[in-house]
Subunit: 353 residues, 2 copies
């Protein structure tokens, strides 16, 4: 696979982003949803900000309070034996289950705008910020699906009651309408197809299960984009391969002569995230035509291998121009990069089932 | 609370049910959905059948194969150290996560019919049986919501890809239409309200989460009963109380002057299941008016305390006649019982919030 990584990569880093919260530092500007609007490329960045702690023995966990509409801080001592601080992203309760209790940062969505797709200017303020009880730990990993002049923006919402997927819509990237939670916990990596197929809307989604089942890709249908059903398991993990640990939808799928092409992420059990592709039937996206045997892209450049959480390439959106697939992607849970791939080469690399 | 338990209790036991599968034994006839049809009370029993093993060192796990439409058996040796057989309901993989790998029995839905609500005759054959890839480990805990002359029957579906909730509908309890999975994994204890409220259908559901969140009751809305969205967390666990470990919807809610009355189940962390009540706003069931401080009913009778999985009362449906609430309920994951309670006494027992 010939991959042209932009010379400007990473095209956005945390250093480029002014913190929105006083006494916070930006630790991530990554996993952006992609849109084209008014002749510009927009990256809907997931910006992660962490409270600065003057005392290295104190970790601060930010929590949005919807009643006061303010961010509050929980302070924990690193020698508090009830908690496990070994994962930089989360704070776990040692006495509890496998999950986490707090996040160490809060994420929201902020727009970066560009005329050429290479050089971006970042808005001063958040575009979508936590606003309700389901978003108290932040909102993460947006994707954007355009239909006509409406842009549907959906993202993971995190709070003590669970991780689900909520949606807003906009026509101007200024005003938004909030549509509530469209997929209930535990779910993330929702990807809405950009048009109706045989009279129905379709979405990929990625439930995380506790009793039985793996983090795999499902597909659902809808008549209004808000209510979803007829859930079907679409594709699973593959032992010994690049997508053996977890998979989830990545970029919004796009039409090719051969089928809907979905660039999805897959990780191994030791958390190495790559991008691969799956081709779905044009008339029935619940049918798989072909799938990547090897990753389309894997962490290789220094900025992909090193960062807040290294060895990660994670795309939430692409722009397609003829044979060129411009894949915007988060790197190492830290920054944004972009690479161009050949659509024909991706299609030729797939193994037909 | 005055509770009149029927003299005939348990009204159905596994001994009353002829196994459908040769060389299987019926180990449960419980957690029945309730309907009234053609002047009869119907119990839609969850019947659990277990393969008989001649060799006590061999455990057989039944799996439905949708391609051959037959039940297949996996045989495991009890001295196989890869597996944990300590829970009679499931077989766990010691090397894996907290979940299970196989079930020791397969459940399906079978109808018991009665003229008087006390004495039941059981159909010879299953009414709803596993039929697709999402139901290979069985279908469990049906509820029935009647709207006009259509009965919507929904139940947990279990397979290696997860536990979700699927739905069929019928007008005659002979022919059914399958509507697919209406709530994606991991979810169970779905309860659909029996009429539209302000133009929308509503359902309670109970996601089970892995990363963060507890097994608690959520509420969703729909425009067609098949697609669901606008998910909201409705009510949570209460430390130190009867519903401190897990909660889930129970009976189909019914209208009272004060609000929608939902009889729900709650369990402690050591798996003692009781029934309690919550009152929801008539015009907006996402609003809680009142809730049980103490259980409406708890395991007390011998048949409630002892069985395949003891100390369980678990209702999936009630019949209401004036002040009398006839609560049909599964006991000890084994049999069915019925008790009559006073609606006024239930309402008077609630704590208003």
């Amino acid at each position: 696979m010939n991959i042209y990584r932009y010379e400007e990569n990473p095209i956005i880093t945390p250093a480029d982003v002014t913190p929105y919260h006083p006494n916070f530092e930006v630790i991530g500007a990554f996993n952006a949803g992609i849109a084209q609007y008014n002749g510009e490329v927009l990256m809907l960045l997931r910006v992660a900000e962490r409270p600065i702690s003057e005392d290295p023995q104190i970790v601060k966990a930010p929590i949005y309070n919807p009643k006061t509409q303010k961010l509050e801080l929980i302070e924990l001592r690193t020698d508090d034996e009830r908690y496990d601080f070994s994962d930089p992203r989360v704070i776990r309760d040692r006495t509890g289950s496998s999950g986490f209790t707090y996040l160490t940062s809060i994420s929201y969505i902020r727009i970066a705008r560009s005329k050429d797709g290479h050089h971006f200017t970042i808005d001063e303020k958040p575009f979508v910020y936590p606003s309700n009880e389901q978003e108290t730990f932040g909102i993460e990993d947006p994707r954007v699906t355009q239909m006509g002049d409406t842009y549907y923006i959906y993202f993971s919402v995190i709070s003590p009651v669970g991780i689900g997927e909520s949606m807003v819509s906009t026509k101007d990237f200024v005003n938004t309408e909030h549509h509530g939670m469209i997929f209930s916990p535990e779910n993330k990596d929702v990807i809405i197809f950009p048009e109706k197929i045989n009279g129905k809307y379709y979405a990929l989604h990625r439930p995380t299960t506790k009793s039985i089942g793996n983090p795999e890709i499902w597909i659902a249908e809808s008549n209004n984009l808000l209510y979803w059903g007829n859930h079907k398991h679409l594709m699973g993990l593959r032992k010994g391969m690049w997508d053996s640990g977890r998979i989830g939808g990545g970029a919004v799928p796009f039409k090719t002569d051969k089928g809907w092409l979905e660039l999805y992420h897959g990780a191994t059990l030791d958390h190495r995230y790559c991008m691969g592709a799956v081709l779905l039937d044009l008339n029935d996206p619940t049918k798989i035509i072909a799938r990547s045997d090897k990753p389309v892209m894997e962490p290789d450049a220094d900025y992909e291998k090193k960062g807040f959480f290294g060895d990660v390439v994670f795309s939430c959106g692409v722009l397609v121009e003829g044979d060129i697939v411009k894949m915007y992607y988060g790197v190492a849970d830290t920054s944004m990069a972009c690479a161009e791939l050949s659509l024909q080469e991706i299609l030729d690399s797939l193994i037909y089932v």
